[in-house]
Amino acid sequence: MSKQEQHWEKTRNLLFITLAIWFVFSIGIFLFGAEMQESNIRPFGYPLTYWFTCQGSLAIFVILIFWFAGRQEKIDDEFGFSEREGDK
């Protein structure tokens, strides 16, 4: 496998992990909205589903994107595909 194929395979795996986390907090948990609302887990005292729609999912997306960007940069560095000065 060429260097570029390996790089792409790692990139694709990272995409799948990212999209799996994204799926859980944008779609997955809302399949159980009514059940979660009754849960005893109450972040800052808010009902659980309500909290996810107000803050929880939103904040997780922000963190997820920064985490994803960091991981992708590591992959690019590993294969020497990071941009250097003068790349335009």
Partner: protein
């Protein structure tokens, strides 16, 4: 070079700007104490901020193609994040969102989740790859990746349909705010709004829009957060509302149980002015089916990843790496406002319905409420209405009606904040609507000038001529949008959601598969774009004209139909026609590697 210096000095420049704006607010507050009229304060706020944007627009004028289309590709990560957040958060986010949450509760929160979750798709599937591609516009990517004018042209069609639906709503919003703040008729205010929008974008294109959008973000976020924190402290709900409103949310649920949701008769409802609504849904309980929630969220997420005015912001960063990080910053700046909207809705509702609070009106006598100053003001503005349906002389929950905009616009006044805050909120709403309108008008006119005029009609056009064409188109599109906005045929929020569905129907899969599926070819992409857009539109028309729809897909989620058709037709047509040539496959390989020159620069 002055420009290089400007980029290095950005934190300082915008730091001074923010400080200056805060001083302006304090000066206005002092002027209010000294007896300046509410009307004059409103005029000062809107006029002052709009003039600043126009000044930035004029200072950023340019005669270079690179600066006009992609701001010279040197916008730093964090500032591009702010500009994108302003580009993204429209008049609907600023003025209408808290109201939607106030009235519809959980079912509406799908929009919050969708409008933020979409950025994960932008960051992981598209933005860095399109940045590597080095294109000026979204159709530029489609046209070069798939090859052929038909693909490019189809992309321009989808872009124009989606963005134009969106922009009329934004020009409408600038007109609404300008007409209230400056006290001029709506028909004229729309063109005042348009003139302000064009001043920001015409001379400097993307470069001017970038720097005005950063300035607009600063105004709109101060204008949104300051009242939320202030009201929360004033009500004694806590100095940091986001973490401290659990008791208030529980109290609203308790009051809802106590009052009950009494259903009004159709005859009674007919007396309520158009556009106003009562509280008929529980504030925090799960009141929508999983499918209703998820389908709306999915449409908003896929739409986010397909809307060209957002995508093109990531063409302006210096590198692929910064494009990726910039998406994170964009979402962070959006999060600041979106996570505050439910808090504002909670504070607004509690202060109105809790009889134990001095501002609470439920349980008071009708005559008492009618005598309140702010009630009279907002009743006159057609945003509040009470009526004694059961004739018992006291106001019940089901007898109180309000417009969605009132949650953002009226709550400061209800909570007893000084008028200077209302002026600030008007300036914030204006900033939100203007910044989005600018991004959209520029996206459409850039696609027409670059992709239709330069790439298809006259590839030999000189730089000067291309930029003149771009500016003429910008003005024409602005006027077309304002003319339609002046007709007031559609509500702001409904047309914004439609824009997402249109974009998702036609562009989502052609964009994503262009990067992630090498086998995708031009006939497949054209089929995906056109059949997707046509089937989505057909479904919308069918449901609008009384059709029953299927699978619970409504006129707000028709993008699901469009995108499904788009995906299937794109795959089928791609597979039954020839694979893309070696040069195209090589191009896709190059897009996937961050280092090296942009794909277009290699050609």
């Amino acid at each position: 070079m002055i420009k290089g210096k400007f980029i290095d000095n950005l934190p300082k420049v915008y730091g001074i700007y923010t400080g200056g704006f805060l001083v302006f607010i304090i000066l206005m507050a002092i002027a209010e104490q000294a007896g300046m009229s509410a009307k004059l304060i409103g005029i000062f706020f809107v006029a002052f901020t709009v003039l600043i944007y126009a000044l930035i627009g004029w200072l950023s004028r340019t005669l270079q193609v690179d600066a006009y289309y992609v701001a010279g590709r040197q916008v730093p990560t964090v500032f591009n994040g702010m500009a994108t957040a302003a580009d993204w958060m429209s008049g609907a986010s600023f003025v209408a969102m808290a109201g939607g949450i106030y009235f519809k509760g959980y079912g509406y929160m799908a929009l919050l989740v969708g409008w933020t979750g979409g950025y994960v798709l932008v960051a992981s599937l598209l933005a860095p790859y399109l940045r590597k591609f080095g294109c000026y516009t979204v159709p530029d990517f489609i046209g070069t990746r798939y090859g052929g004018n038909l693909a490019r042209f189809s992309a321009v069609i989808v872009l124009t349909v989606a963005s134009f639906t969106y922009v009329t709503a934004q020009i409408n919003a600038t007109g609404t705010i300008a007409s209230v703040a400056l006290d001029i008729p709506f028909g004229i205010a729309v063109y005042v709004g348009l003139a302000s929008i064009l001043m920001c974008s015409m001379l400097g294109g993307m470069r001017a829009v970038t720097w005005t959008q950063v300035a607009q973000y600063i105004v709109l976020i101060i204008a949104y957060l300051l009242p939320v924190f202030w009201i929360s402290s004033k009500l004694g709900a806590g100095f940091f509302p986001h973490f401290m409103l659990a008791d208030e949310v529980a109290r609203i649920a308790e009051l809802e149980g106590q009052f009950g949701f009494v259903k009004n008769s159709a005859a009674d409802l007919a007396t309520v002015p158009k556009g106003l609504a009562g509280i008929t849904k529980a504030h925090s309980s799960v009141n929508a089916t999983p499918w209703a929630f998820i389908s709306l969220a999915v449409c908003m997420m896929a739409g986010t990843a397909s809307l060209p005015h957002v995508m093109m912001r990531y063409f302006t960063t210096p590198s692929v790496r910064t494009a990726r990080r910039s998406v994170g910053w964009s979402l962070f700046f959006i999060f600041l406002l979106y996570s505050s909207a439910p808090m504002l809705a909670t504070l607004s509702k509690l202060s109105l319905i809790d009889p134990t609070l001095p501002t609470g009106i439920i349980g008071k006598t009708i005559a008492e409420v009618q005598a309140i100053d702010w009630y009279q003001n907002w009743n006159q503005a057609n945003l509040m209405f009470i009526s004694d349906f059961n004739g018992n002389g006291t106001l019940e929950l089901n007898e109180f009606f309000m417009g969605g905009k009132a949650v953002v616009l009226a709550t400061p006044e209800i909570a007893g904040l000084p008028y200077v805050i209302s002026g600030l909120v008007a300036a914030g709403g204006m900033a939100a609507a203007m910044s989005t309108a600018d991004g959209l008008v520029l996206a459409i006119s850039n696609a027409l000038s670059h992709d239709i005029y330069y790439k298809i009609i006259n590839p030999k056009a000189e730089t000067a001529k291309r930029l003149i064409v771009a500016r003429v188109l910008l003005v024409l599109i602005g006027f077309a949008g304002a003319t339609i906005a002046a007709l007031e045929i559609q509500g702001i929020l409904g047309s914004v959601i439609w824009a997402f569905d249109f974009a998702m129907s036609g562009l989502f899969f052609p964009l994503v598969l262009g990067v992630w599926w090498k086998r995708a070819n031009a006939p497949g992409a054209v089929a995906g774009m056109l059949l997707g857009l046509i089937s989505g539109t057909a479904y919308l028309i069918w449901v609008r004209s009384g059709g029953s729809g299927f699978l619970g897909i409504t006129q707000l989620t028709f993008g699901i139909v469009g995108a499904a058709v788009s995906l299937v037709s794109m795959i089928v047509v791609s597979l039954i026609t020839a694979a893309p040539d070696a040069a195209t496959q090589k191009m896709v390989d190059d897009v996937r590697v961050p280092s090296g020159k942009t794909v277009l620069a290699q050609k």
